[in-house]
Amino acid sequence: MPSKISLNVNGADHAVEVEPDSMLLYALRDNLSLRGPKFGCGLAQCGACTVLLDGNAIRSCVTPVSAVGNSKVVTLEGLGTPEEPHPLQQAFIAEQAAQCGYCINGMIMAAKAFLDQHPHPSRDEIKQALNDNLCRCGTHMRIVRAVQRAAGSSKP
C-alpha cells in the first residue's frame, strides 16, 4: 500500500505518498511536479531520468523510492534557477547545446557528477563520461563543447 515517505529533494524535505517499490522518477515528476528528470526508457539505458543521489549520477527510472533513504536528491531544478543558473546550465545555453532538449537533463546531471570528480577533463574523458547518455537529435558536438566550456577547459 502507499506510504508516506520522506524525500530530501533539492535541499528540502518532502513527504510523498507512494508505493515504496515504485521508482523515484515518478515521485519526482508526479508527486513533486518536477520537470527536469524525464522518462525515456525505464530501463536505465538512455539517461534522460538522471538525478544526483548524494552527488552521484543515478538513473531514477530504476531506483525504488525505498532505496533513497536519507540520501539527498538533486534534480536539474536544484542545480540553478533562471536568475542564477549553474555554470553548466550557462555553458549549455551559451553553446546552444540542445535541439529537442529531451535528453539534456541527463547530459547536464551526468556532467555535473563527472566534473565534481574530474574538474579538468580532456575531450575524450568527457565523451567517455557521457557515453551512456543517449541523444537522438545529434547534439553531441555541442554538448561536449558545453561541458568543456563549463570546465574552463579546451584541452583536446
Binding site: M1, P2, A12, H14, V18, E19, S22, M23, Y26, R29, D30, N31, L32, S33, R35, G36, K38, F39, G40, C41, G42, L43, Q45, C46, A48, T75, L76, E77, G80, T81, P82, P85, F92, I93, Q96, A98, Q99, C100, G101, Y102, C103, I104, N105, I108, I126, K127, Q128, L130, N131, D132, N133, L134, R136, C137, G138, T139, H140, M141, R142, V144
Partner: protein
C-alpha cells in the same frame, strides 16, 4: 513545492486563448497569462468555439499587447529544429519589432491557422513567406493606425523596434502597444488557398531582403533556456485536473487478436482503476503511473514477453511477418503500388546492349526507426461529443481532423493543445498515442494521459521502410557514363492509418496508404541514357511512415555510391567524375566548396587502398539535391580491420539552402543530421521475427554514442544570399552520409559495402570475402 503545472483551461476559458506561458521564478509553475492586462476584446467576447481563427484576419497571426510585447501565432510547430526562432525572426523583421519581445504560440488548433504539417524541411520555406506577408501587413496596419493617431499621412511615419515615429518630429512617437490599446487586430489582410499553398496578405509589401537586419543573425533559440533550466513544459510534463494515467497493452504479434483477459490481481494494485478493452485494443487506466505500469505488466506489457500467452491477456498465435533476411525479396514481390518514372532519357537498354564496360549492383537498406528518446505521449479528455487533446504531434490540425473521424465527434467540438514533444524526426507514435488516450478517456469519462513504454515505442512506432535498389551503369572508353539505370522497390513511406483504429476494428476510420509524391530520388546527372524509376509497393510487413528525409537517405546512398563505383571502374577521381557529369550550377558549387574546405587532391578512389591488416584511412564524397537545397559532404574515416570498426574523424559539409534565417540554428541542424545519419549508416536496423519487432530497447536498436562521434564537423554555407529564397534545412544534410561512408570504406580498403548498417561484423565479413 507541490504546486502542479496544470493546463487548467476548459473549453469555455478560451476567452483567454491569446496567451502565453510564463515560467514562474521557482521553475515549478506554468501559469497562463496574457501580456499585460487582459485585453478588452477577450473580456467581452468569450469565445465558446474552438475553431481555428480565419487566416484572412490579422489577429489570426499577430497580437500586440499593451506592454508593447507581441505574439506570433503559427500552425507550424517546433520539433527541435529551431523553426520557432526562425519564424519569429521573419515576423520580427517585417514587423520592425524587437525579436526578444515577440513570443510565438504554435500548433494549438483553436489559436492558429492550419499551415500544413511541420515536416519535409518545408516550414521556413512555405510558412516563412506566409508569416512574412502577415507581419508586413501588420506593420502597414499599425502605420495606418498611427496615421489616424497623429493625423499625418502614413508616408510621414516610420517604424522601428516596436515604436512609430513621425519623421522630422522626434518627440512624436507611440509604441505599437499603446497604439493597439489592447484591441484585437481585426484588420482584413486576405488569404486564399490552404496549408502549404496558402497565400496570406497578397497586397502586403514585404521588405527587400538585402535590407534585413534580424534575418541572417545567429540569434539564440527562444526555447533553449527553458529546456536547460527545467522550466519548459514538454507534452510529457502536462498535467490536467482529474487526470488518470493509461498504458497500452499491444498484441504480442503484429496481427494477433485478443482471446481473453484475466483481470485477477489487478484490483489489488493500489490506484488501479480499470481495464479498457475494445476488440483488440487493450489498455489499463490507474490513478498513478506506477499502478498503470504494474497493471499493464501483469497483462503482458513487458520488455521481452515469452509468447502470446505470457501475460494475463492471451493473444492468438499470429506469425504473419515475412523473414527478416529476405525482406527485400518480399518488397520486390509485393508490387501493390504504382510505378513512377523519375527520369527517362535516350535508351538505357540500347546503350547497355552495345557497351562492354557495364556494372551492376544491388543496394539494400533495412527498416529503421525514429527512435525518440522520450516515448510518445498524449492526454485526451473526451466528454460526450466534445474532446480536448494535448499532443506534441508534428501535424496538430490533421490530428484534430483525424480524431473527429475516429471518435465520430464534430470537428468544431475538438481542440488540440500543442506542446513540444521529444524529437520525432518524422511520424513516430505521437499521433497514435492521441488515439490511445482518447479511447481510454472515452471509456473512463475522465482525462487520461498515455505514455508509451520504451518497448511500445520501439515496437509500434511506424518505421522507415526497407528498400532495395538495382543499379546498372555503362562507361565508355573515355570514362564517360553513357547509360544509367536505377530502379527502386519501396514500401509506402506514408501510411497514416491509426493503430488504435485498426485494433478497435475500424482500420479505415482515418488515414491512407500513400504512394509516390515525395522526391525520393532527385536525379541530377547529365548521362545520355537514363532510366530511373520508383516501384512503390504499399504496405509491407510493418506499419511504415516518413523518417527523416524519407527514402532519399536510402536512394542517395545507392546513387552516390554507385557513381563512385563507376568512377573507380573508369580510374577517375570521384569528385572530377561527378563534376564531369553535372550541369546544375548549385550542385557544382557545393561540391567545389566542400572540396576546397577539405583540401581535396585529385586521385582515383581506392588507389591507396590498404589491405595490410593495419588501420586504413579513406575519404569519401557524395552530394544531394533535396527539394532544392544542395548539400555536399566529405568525410575521413579509419577502418580497423581487426574489429571491423569504422571511426569517422573529420566531416566537411557544404550546404546551400539559399538565404539562411539563423546561421547558428542551421549549423545545429546540420551537425544533428550528420550525427543521426552516421548512426543510421553504421548501426541501425530494426529486427523482427515472424510475430513482432524484436529490437525493443536501446540494446536491440543501438544508436551512435559519444565515443563514435566525429572529431570535427566543418560547415560551409553556400549561396547564403538575399537574392535566394530560403529552402529547407531540416533534412537535406542527412542524405549524403551513407554514400560518403561507403565510398570512404572503398577508398580505405578497396571493399564495397552495399547494405546498411555497416556494423563491424559486416565490415569484417566484407573484407574477408
Amino acid at each position: 513545492m507541490t504546486t502542479s503545472f496544470n493546463d487548467m483551461r476548459s473549453a469555455t476559458d478560451l476567452a483567454l486563448s491569446r496567451r502565453r506561458f510564463l515560467q514562474a521564478s521557482g521553475g515549478l509553475v506554468v501559469a497562463f497569462r496574457l501580456f499585460g492586462p487582459q485585453p478588452a476584446w477577450a473580456k467581452d467576447a468569450a469565445r465558446t468555439s474552438v475553431a481555428s481563427p480565419p487566416a484572412g484576419k490579422l489577429y489570426a497571426w499577430l497580437a500586440v499587447h499593451p506592454d508593447n510585447t507581441a505574439t506570433l501565432f503559427t500552425g507550424k510547430v517546433e520539433t527541435g529544429t529551431g523553426v520557432q526562432t526562425a519564424l519569429a525572426q521573419i515576423a520580427a523583421e517585417e514587423l520592425d519589432f524587437p525579436f526578444d519581445r515577440l513570443d510565438v504560440v504554435m500548433g494549438t488548433t483553436s489559436e492558429t491557422v492550419d499551415q500544413g504539417p511541420s515536416y519535409g524541411s518545408m516550414t521556413v520555406r512555405y510558412a516563412g513567406p506566409q508569416i512574412r506577408n502577415a507581419a508586413a501587413a501588420g506593420r502597414a496596419a499599425l502605420l495606418n493606425l498611427a496615421s489616424e493617431h497623429f493625423k499625418v499621412s502614413p508616408n510621414q511615419l516610420t517604424a522601428k523596434e516596436g515604436t512609430i515615429v513621425v519623421l522630422g518630429s522626434p518627440g512624436r512617437t507611440i509604441t505599437y502597444g499603446k497604439l493597439v490599446d489592447g484591441k484585437r487586430l481585426e484588420m482584413e489582410i486576405g488569404a486564399s488557398g490552404e496549408r502549404f499553398a496558402m497565400k496570406v496578405a497578397p497586397n502586403a509589401h514585404p521588405k527587400d531582403p538585402s535590407t534585413y537586419t534580424i534575418i541572417g543573425k545567429p540569434l539564440p533559440r527562444k526555447d533553449i533556456p527553458g529546456k536547460i533550466l527545467a522550466t519548459f513544459s514538454y507534452v510529457q510534463d502536462v498535467r490536467v485536473d482529474g487526470m488518470l494515467h493509461g498504458r497500452v497493452v499491444r498484441p504480442y504479434g503484429v496481427g494477433a487478436t485478443l482471446q481473453s483477459v484475466d483481470e485477477t490481481g489487478l484490483k489489488s494494485i493500489p490506484g488501479f482503476v480499470q481495464v479498457v478493452r475494445r476488440d483488440n485494443f487493450l489498455g489499463v487506466v490507474a490513478e498513478t503511473e506506477w499502478a498503470a505500469i504494474q497493471a499493464a505488466a501483469k497483462l503482458g506489457s513487458t520488455l521481452h514477453p515469452s509468447g502470446p500467452d505470457a501475460g494475463q491477456a492471451k493473444w492468438s498465435n499470429w506469425n504473419g511477418l515475412p523473414k527478416m533476411d529476405q525482406i527485400w525479396d518480399t518488397v520486390r514481390e509485393t508490387a501493390e503500388g504504382r510505378n513512377i518514372s523519375v527520369a527517362s532519357k535516350g535508351s538505357a537498354a540500347l546503350a547497355f546492349g552495345y557497351t562492354k564496360r557495364t556494372l551492376k549492383a544491388t543496394y539494400k537498406t533495412p527498416f529503421q526507426m525514429h527512435g525518440s528518446i522520450g516515448p510518445s505521449c498524449a492526454i485526451a479528455d473526451v466528454k460526450g461529443d466534445h474532446a480536448t487533446l494535448w499532443s506534441g504531434t508534428q501535424m496538430p490540425h490533421e490530428a484534430r481532423r483525424d480524431m473527429a473521424k475516429l471518435l465520430d465527434i464534430p470537428l468544431d467540438n475538438i481542440e488540440l493543445r500543442w506542446f513540444e514533444a521529444s524529437g520525432a524526426y518524422g511520424r513516430n507514435g505521437l499521433e497514435h498515442a492521441i488515439a490511445d488516450a482518447a479511447i481510454m478517456s472515452q471509456a473512463v469519462k475522465r482525462p487520461v494521459r498515455v505514455q508509451w513504454m520504451r518497448w511500445d515505442e520501439h515496437g509500434w512506432e511506424p518505421k522507415g521502410p526497407p528498400i532495395v535498389q538495382d543499379l546498372r551503369g555503362a562507361v565508355d572508353a573515355d570514362g564517360r557514363v553513357i547509360a544509367w539505370q536505377h530502379h527502386m522497390w519501396i514500401p509506402t513511406i506514408s501510411d497514416t492509418h491509426l493503430i488504435a483504429a485498426a485494433l478497435t476494428g475500424n482500420p479505415n476510420a482515418t488515414g491512407e496508404t500513400g504512394t509516390g509524391g515525395v522526391p525520393v530520388i532527385t536525379y541530377a546527372y547529365t548521362f545520355e541514357n537514363a532510366d530511373v524509376a520508383v516501384h512503390d509497393e504499399g504496405r509491407v510487413a510493418l506499419l511504415t511512415a516518413w523518417l527523416r528525409s524519407p527514402a532519399q537517405f536510402e536512394t542517395t546512398f545507392a546513387m552516390e555510391s554507385f557513381i563512385d563505383e563507376l568512377a573507380a571502374a573508369a580510374g577517375k577521381d570521384p569528385l572530377a567524375f561527378r563534376l564531369a557529369h553535372l550541369e546544375d550550377a548549385r550542385a557544382i558549387a557545393v561540391l567545389k566548396a566542400a572540396a576546397e574546405a577539405y583540401g581535396w587532391e585529385e586521385r582515383p578512389a581506392g588507389a591507396k587502398a590498404d589491405r595490410s591488416g593495419k588501420p586504413a584511412h579513406g575519404r569519401g564524397i557524395a552530394w544531394v539535391n533535396r527539394d532544392d537545397s544542395r548539400v555536399a559532404t566529405i568525410a575521413d574515416i579509419t577502418v580497423d580491420p581487426g574489429s571491423g570498426r569504422i571511426k569517422v574523424s573529420r566531416v566537411v559539409v557544404a550546404h546551400d539552402c539559399g538565404l539562411v534565417v539563423n546561421p547558428d540554428g542551421l549549423k545545429n541542424q546540420i551537425e544533428g543530421n550528420i550525427i543521426q545519419s552516421l548512426s543510421r549508416t553504421l548501426l541501425e536496423e530494426v529486427t523482427f521475427d515472424s510475430a513482432r519487432v524484436t529490437s525493443l530497447d536501446w540494446q536491440g536498436y543501438p544508436i551512435l554514442r559519444f565515443e563514435d562521434i566525429p572529431d570535427s564537423i566543418e560547415i560551409v554555407l553556400v549561396n547564403n544570399r538575399p537574392e535566394y529564397p530560403s529552402y529547407g534545412a531540416g533534412e537535406p544534410s542527412t542524405n549524403p552520409t551513407a554514400a560518403v561512408i561507403s565510398n570512404a570504406i572503398f577508398d580505405a580498403v578497396g571493399v564495397r559495402l552495399r547494405q546498411t548498417p555497416f556494423r563491424p561484423e559486416r565490415v569484417k565479413a566484407a573484407m574477408s570475402s
